[in-house]
Point group: C2
Chain length 490, copies 2
C-alpha cells in the first residue's frame, strides 16, 4: 500500500465512533501499546488506532471507511501468532475480533459448531464435551488463541497428523471483503459448487478478507488413548522410528519427538520420568476403540523395539498418560529456563529426512555458536527448533535470525517447506523467495489482487514483492557460491 491515507487519525476515529462504542475505538498510546506486537515480540510497530467492533455490520462499515480512505487494516485475534502476522501497520487500523466471542451453536447430530471468530480454540472442545465431541486442531496456545486466528494461520497441533490442520476441520466461513461486502465460502457438504475458496482463505493470514464466522467439524472423543514413550541413543534411530511407525500403517493421534537438550530441560521442569540420557525421545499416542488401541500399541512397541529403542514405557492409566505428556507440553517454558531467550522456528520436511536435518542442525549449531533444542511434531515432519540465545548480547539476535534462515532453507533443500503451522507473516517473508519462483509469487499477487486490489489488507505480510525477492536471491546466491561445497540435496 503506497497511497497516503486520505483521512487523519482524528477523522477516522470520529467516523468509527458514530457506530462503535467510543471506548472501543482506541487512539491513546497507553491503550494502543498492548497491540504493538503478537507472539513474535521481536517485531513491533504501534498502530494508528485500534477498533473493536461487535457486529458484522460494524466490521463492514469499518472496512468501507478504510477502503475509501486507503487505510491499511490488520485483523487480530488473540495475538498469540508466532510469525508477526498480526503486527500492526503504523498508518493502519488494527481490527480486533475480541468481542466476537460467542459460540453461536453446536449441532451434536451433524457434529458441527458455528462460531464467532474470537472464540478461543479450547472453549470449543470444552463446550462440545457435553456431547462427547471435541475440536481436532490443538495448537500449543489453545487456551488463548482464537478460531479466527487459527483460520488465518491454518493452525495445527499435536493431533494434526491424524486429524488434520484447521483447513481439514472447517466447513465454511463468512467473510467481509476489503470493500465491505459480505460473502459466504464453503458448505456443509464434502464439496461445494463454485470455486473452492475455503482452503485459499484458510492460512491466508488476513491478506484476503476479515472472517466474521466459522463453522467447524467436531470429532467424537476417542474411547481410549494410550501413549508410548520410547527413548533412543541417537537422533538417527529416533528419526527412523518415526518413519517406521507410519510405514507400518499406524497413524498415531500424536507422534512427537524431542532431542537431548529438550529431554533434559523438560524433565527438569515437569519431572515426567523421561530417560535423561536418551538422545531422542518419541511420544506416540494411539487413540480409538479399545481393540484398535490395544492392537496398535502392541505393534508400535514392537516397531520401536526392532528399531533399537533403549527404553519403552507405555501409559497404563490416564494419570500416567497426562504425566508423560506434561513434559512435552511444558517443553517450551522448560527451555525458557535454561536460556535467557529462545526463538521458536517452524518448518516442515519429508519424514525420511528427519535424522539428516537434525544432524545438519547440530553442525549449524556449532557454526553459529548457538545451542538448539528440538521439540516437534515428528509424525508430520513439522520441526520446531528452538534456538537459544541472549538478546542482551549485542549481535546475538541477528546471529539467531541468520541461523533460523539457514534452517528454513535446509527444509526447502530437502523438499520441505518454510512453515508448518505458524505462517509466513513478517518473519518468513524472505524465505518465500527461496521457496517459490517468480511465476508462483506473481500468481499469489494476482490472487491477492482479486480480493484486495488496493492492497489494504495486512500489507507487507505473507507474500513478498518480486523486486524484494530478486534482491534477496541475488544476495543469497553470492553467499552460497562461497559456502556450498556439496549439492547433494539441491
Amino acid at each position: 500500500m503506497t497511497t497516503k491515507p486520505k483521512a487523519t487519525k482524528a477523522q477516522l476515529a470520529e467516523q468509527f465512533r458514530t457506530f462503535i462504542d467510543p471506548d472501543y475505538v482506541i487512539t491513546d498510546d497507553e491503550t494502543l501499546k498492548p497491540y504493538e506486537c503478537d507472539g513474535l515480540a521481536m517485531y513491533r510497530e504501534m498502530p494508528m488506532l485500534v477498533v473493536l467492533p461487535e457486529t458484522v455490520d460494524q466490521v463492514q462499515r469499518v472496512m468501507r471507511i478504510c477502503h475509501e480512505n486507503d487505510v491499511p487494516v490488520v485483523a487480530r485475534g488473540a495475538g498469540t501468532g508466532l510469525c508477526a502476522g498480526a503486527m500492526p501497520h503504523k498508518e493502519g487500523v488494527v481490527l480486533s475480533l475480541a468481542k466476537f466471542d460467542r459460540i453461536i451453536n453446536i449441532d451434536p447430530i451433524g457434529r458441527t459448531a458455528r462460531l464467532q471468530p474470537g472464540v478461543r480454540n479450547l472453549a470449543i472442545s470444552e463446550e462440545a464435551a457435553q456431547y462427547g465431541l471435541y475440536y481436532g486442531p490443538d495448537p500449543s496456545s489453545q487456551i488463548a488463541c482464537t478460531i479466527g486466528g487459527n483460520v488465518a494461520e491454518n493452525s495445527g497441533g499435536v493431533h494434526c497428523l491424524k486429524y488434520g490442520l484447521t483447513v481439514h476441520n472447517i466447513l465454511s466461513v463468512e467473510m467481509v471483503t476489503a470493500d465491505g461486502e459480505l460473502i459466504n465460502i464453503g458448505s456443509d457438504g464434502l464439496d461445494s459448487c463454485g470455486m473452492d475458496l475455503l482452503a485459499l482463505i484458510t492460512g491466508s493470514e488476513g491478506l484476503l478478507g476479515v472472517v466474521t464466522e466459522v463453522k467447524v467439524k467436531l470429532l467424537p472423543t476417542p474411547e481410549v488413548a494410550q501413549v508410548i514413550m520410547a527413548g533412543f541413543d541417537s537422533v538417527e534411530k529416533g528419526g527412523d522410528a518415526v518413519g517406521g511407525i507410519i510405514s507400518h500403517g499406524i497413524i498415531p493421534g500424536g507422534l512427537e519427538m524431542m532431542d537431548g537438550h529438550a529431554i533434559v530441560a523438560a524433565d527438569d521442569f515437569a519431572q515426567a520420568g523421561y530417560p535423561r540420557d536418551a538422545k531422542a525421545l518419541l511420544l506416540c499416542e494411539v487413540d480409538g476403540t479399545e481393540e484398535e488401541v490395544h492392537e496398535h500399541i502392541a505393534e508400535a512397541e514392537e516397531v520401536f523395539r526392532k528399531l533399537g529403542a533403549t527404553s519403552i514405557r507405555t501409559s497404563q492409566s490416564e494419570e500416567e498418560r497426562a504425566l508423560l505428556w506434561k513434559g512435552r507440553k511444558s517443553a517450551f517454558p522448560a527451555v525458557g529456563r535454561i536460556s535467557p531467550d529462545y526463538y521458536c522456528m517452524d518448518g516442515t520436511i519429508p519424514r525420511r529426512y528427519l535424522a539428516h536435518v537434525l544432524l545438519e542442525m547440530e553442525k549449524m549449531s556449532d557454526e553459529f555458536g548457538l545451542r538448539v533444542a528440538n521439540v516437534f511434531h515428528a509424525g508430520d515432519g513439522n520441526l520446531h527448533p528452538l534456538i537459544l540465545f541472549d538478546a542482551n548480547v549485542p549481535g546475538e539476535f541477528e546471529t539467531t535470525e541468520a541461523f533460523g534462515s539457514k534452517i528454513l532453507e535446509l527444509c526447502v533443500e530437502v523438499g520441505g517447506c518454510i512453515t508448518g503451522e505458524h505462517g509466513v507473516g513478517v518473519e518468513k517473508i524472505r524465505q518465500m523467495a527461496v521457496q517459490f519462483n517468480d511465476e508462483e509469487l506473481q500468481q499469489f499477487h494476482d490472487v491477492k489482487a482479486a480480493f484486495d486490489p488496493t492492497g489494504m489488507l495486512n500489507p507487507g505480510k505473507g507474500v513478498p514483492t518480486l523486486k524484494f525477492c530478486q534482491e534477496y536471491r541475488s544476495i543469497e546466491h553470492k553467499q552460497h557460491k562461497h559456502e556450498q561445497t556439496d549439492g547433494a540435496h539441491g
Copy 2:
C-alpha cells in the same frame, strides 16, 4: 471472451505444426467430430481445431500462441464429464491431454503416485495393487475418465463418503497458466506455505489453467469388506436409516440408496436378488480390519432393524459382495433399458432432508409427467435423480430440463448445493445464480481474472456473468410469485 481471434484457423494450425506432430493438429471436420461434446451429449459445438501435445513444453507453447492471438482454449481429458465442461468453443482450440498417459512413478513407502493428467482413474489402482495400495475416488466412469479430468471436476464416487473427493486425495499439481507459465501448487505435506491454491484448482473446470501433472495419495487396500443390503417399505425409512448409520458413528466405505424404480430396473438387468417390492434399498459397505468390520456390520444391521428394514442381507463372500454391488453399478444402463433416454442430475443436500427431497421429487414427477429413478450416494447426500424421457417426443427434453432445474433449486432450498461431483460446466450455469449472490459471483470472477485476465480458458463455463444472473433471477422470481405457496424451506 469477446475479442475476435487475431489468427485464422490455418495460421494457428501452421504454427502448432512447427512443434507438434502434424497428425495431432486436427483441422478437418471428420476428425474434429468426436470432440464435439463430452458425456453430456445434448450440448454440442464443433471446435475450430484440436491439438494433442505430448510434452509440457508443447502445452506451454500452445498456450502462449493462443494467449497472443486471443484464442479460447478448452482442455480435455477423456471427455466423460457430465456437465458439458469440455464442450468446445467454436472459435477455440481443444487441448487434449490424451497423450499425457504415463504413470511417472509410484512410491509405495510414501504412498503417493506421480501421474500425467491423461492417466485413467482405474489404471492408478491397477498399477498400485502390487503394493497393496489403491486410489480412493472412484467415479462411475473410472474405466475411462482421467485423473486430469477428475481434478478439473473434483470427482467423487461410491467411496468418497469415507475417503473423500479428489481434492482430499491429491497432494500437488503442476499447471500451465493462461499465458504459458509453469507453476507448482501444493506439496507433500499436510500444509504448504504460500497461498493454498490446490483446492481452488481442484474443481475449477479448466477455467484457471491446464494441469500437466498430478501427485495423488494412495490408500492401503482394506483387509476386509462386507456389504449389507437393507430394504425398506418407504423412502422416509430408507432416508432415516442413512442418518441413523452415520449418527451411530459408523462411516461406511460406501452408503448407496436406490428407489423403487431403480431397484426393479437394476434387478431386472443384473439379477442381483434385490427385494423388488421395496421402496428404498440401501447398500452399506463397511471396510477395514477384520475386527472393525465384524463389529460395525453387527451394529449397522442392528440400526437398520431398529429403523424398520423389511429385509437385510449381508454378503458372506467376495462373490456375494460383487453380486450385490453389480445391481448398483449397472443401475444407469439398467434404467436406460426402461426408457428411450434419461438425464442424470447431480445435486447435494443435507442428509436429514433425504426423505423430504425424494418425496418432493415424486410430486414434481407427477407435475411434469415424467418418471424419475433415484440411484445415489446417500451417505454424503449426493443425489443422482435420473429423469426418464423420450427425446423424440417434441418438447420432452425441454420439460426434462425444467424438471431438472426444479430439482437443483430444491437442493439449494434445503441448504444443499447444485452439484455433488459432476461440476457446473454449461449445464448448471443458470443455477449458479440461485446458489450464489452477486458479491460471491463477483469474487469468483475476480479470482478467475487473477489466473486468466483475458478470459481465454474455457469461456462460458462454470461461473455465469452477473448480467445473466440478474436476468435469470428476475424470471425465476416472477414464476415463484405465482407458484410458491409455502416457504418452509426458504
